[in-house]
Symmetry: C2
Subunit: 342 residues, 2 copies
């Protein structure tokens, strides 16, 4: 039973020095200590099994060595991979990472803001549901935003380049011979994405001299139900087979779900219709056919967000950083190569 805790005092007494000296030894701030004293103190620490209490130390130094990562859902692979990357780069620097799931709820988000204001965290990395920039600024701790926010001018931001990611998907479809491309995206919750995607889509069509058919711009929820709805909407389109040769989905969940739903009507992705997704979630390589998609650089986003935060915590007044990483094509089997047959 090692129940009573040993503090710096016990160590000091055993080593026959003052607590100040022990403090110099354990906090590697490089205060000068003679070699003999150093050894005596270290031996005492060893002997007593002393552990430094960082919480107590933090009270004086105003550092908690804790960082909050606020994301919509830990159990969503997209976010958990970002969280993992953040952890993997922050922990070697001595930080502990708390992951908060907001479940897209403002109320839960507020609760984390509360926590952050109780002097709990040295920094925050977040994907806010709301665009409440003032709230973030009033936190009083360094913050890094994940996602593409035009509103947040003076806050560090890390995210995917949606315009480019949409574009390379479109380009791939075009190169493989597709000329009648439908786009499925969401119009609520995160309108900012819709506008960016739809814009990239229209721009691309215009650039290639392709006609824009408003009926081919589908708006669905970005979940499995949305994918089923999408499939049915597509099929109910008059003379659909002549009007669309490919479907660009807002995310992989929608793409996979649409693929499965379409199969029920005998339409096989990669044979009868081309389908391309966005994100590259783990399941996408395991579907049949494996889904061609645009991979979002989750790991780079997480690592970069952590690095930016690290920098910001050292220098709160440095220049604001904005990092947008490109998506990359994950070519699999759900897109038909129409180059020969056109």
């Amino acid at each position: 039973m090692n129940k009573q805790k040993i503090s710096i005092h016990e160590v000091a007494r055993l080593a026959g020095v003052s607590k100040s000296t022990v403090s110099r030894v354990i906090s590697d701030k490089g205060g000068s200590v003679s070699p003999e004293t150093l050894e005596r103190v270290q031996k005492a620490i060893e002997q007593l099994g002393y552990r430094r209490n960082i919480v107590a130390a933090g009270l004086r130094t105003q550092k908690t060595y804790m960082v909050l990562v606020m994301i919509p859902d830990v159990a969503n692979p997209f976010w958990s991979e970002i969280a993992r990357a953040v952890q993997d780069t922050l922990e070697p620097e001595g930080y502990s990472v708390v992951i908060g799931s907001t479940y897209w709820s403002e109320e839960r988000e507020s609760r984390y803001y509360e926590l952050a204001q109780m002097a709990r965290f040295d920094g925050v990395i977040l994907n806010s549901v709301t665009d409440n920039i003032d709230k973030i600024k009033s936190l009083g701790v360094p913050a890094v935003l994940i996602g593409e926010r035009t509103a947040a001018q003076d806050i560090d931001t890390v995210g995917t380049d949606t315009l480019q990611a949409t574009r390379i998907g479109m380009e791939y479809l075009y190169e493989t011979g597709h000329r009648k491309i439908a786009l499925a995206t969401s119009d609520h919750g995160s309108e900012r994405y819709l506008s960016l995607r739809a814009r990239a889509y229209k721009d691309f069509l215009h650039e290639k001299g392709l006609p824009f058919d408003p009926a081919l711009l589908f708006s669905v929820n970005l979940d499995a139900e949305g994918g089923q709805a999408l499939a049915r909407q597509l099929l109910s389109l008059q003379n659909w087979a002549a009007r669309v040769d490919s479907l660009f989905c807002g995310n992989d969940i929608v793409a996979i779900s649409a693929m499965n739903e379409l199969r029920k009507y005998g339409i096989i992705a990669g044979i009868d219709l081309s389908i391309i997704g966005m994100d590259d979630i783990p399941a996408s390589s395991q579907t049949y056919p494996p889904l061609t998609t645009v991979r979002k650089p989750r790991e780079r986003i997480g690592v970069s967000a952590a690095q930016v935060l690290l920098k910001r915590m050292c220098d709160p007044l440095g220049p604001v950083e904005k990092h947008l990483f490109p998506g990359e094509l994950a070519v699999r089997d759900s897109v038909i190569d129409r180059r020969g047959t056109r």
Copy 2:
């Protein structure tokens, strides 16, 4: 710029009371305060925008309101769902949850043990890679183990009932008319599972009077490569089609991967061969055909682990608790109904 922080002192001064009184107001311990004073203090708090510093409070009260969840990998849906359930039950009680990914490495595990000893956490929930029970006990904080550990007699444990989970999978195969069942499991890392699964498998065969063919007990890594290896091992078995009618895989990743690999040889799960998995990861419902599998009660495990920890933190000396939750069948399309054709 609200940079200077307000403490209990400032509030006390503004309200014209002592800090003791302010403390009584903010810590709802029910010390007696007159209504007028209460109001004055609350007004002062409001006015100054005061936030209680829980870290400082914790120094005195020896509570950090932080809990560590140590699991192999946050980005693995199996574990992240457990972590989410833990968070969802602990946060309403005022705790913050730190998730640590060990990546199955003892070294990383040790690093978290270090952290836990620095008076950082009030409790720990963990799935240890090693079976180092002594280390857990010497942590000095309440701990709850996730998984099935026979070794850990006097530590709270929460997990899946592997014997039962294997059994209901076997039973389902038997009921649907299968008599030549192969089992694929792992033999390194977590031998405890192998022994339990293989035992349940053999017991079941014996009980039903079915012969045990050692060649049908495959040992593979429980990852995607393992699934491919499994498919090839199965096909290289002499006269395999006559010897096996169904394949029970150690987890869904192996099952899905094997399913995909087998398709390359023209063998379709659910038509030519029955395949059943274990875990029910999100991808399993999205494969083609959707995978029949035994669902592990991830959420119940997480919630229960959190509840047991909560109880343990209140009463460190209470009786040790052991909870094993049953798996349940997720019937989809990868198992053939052979009842008519036998």
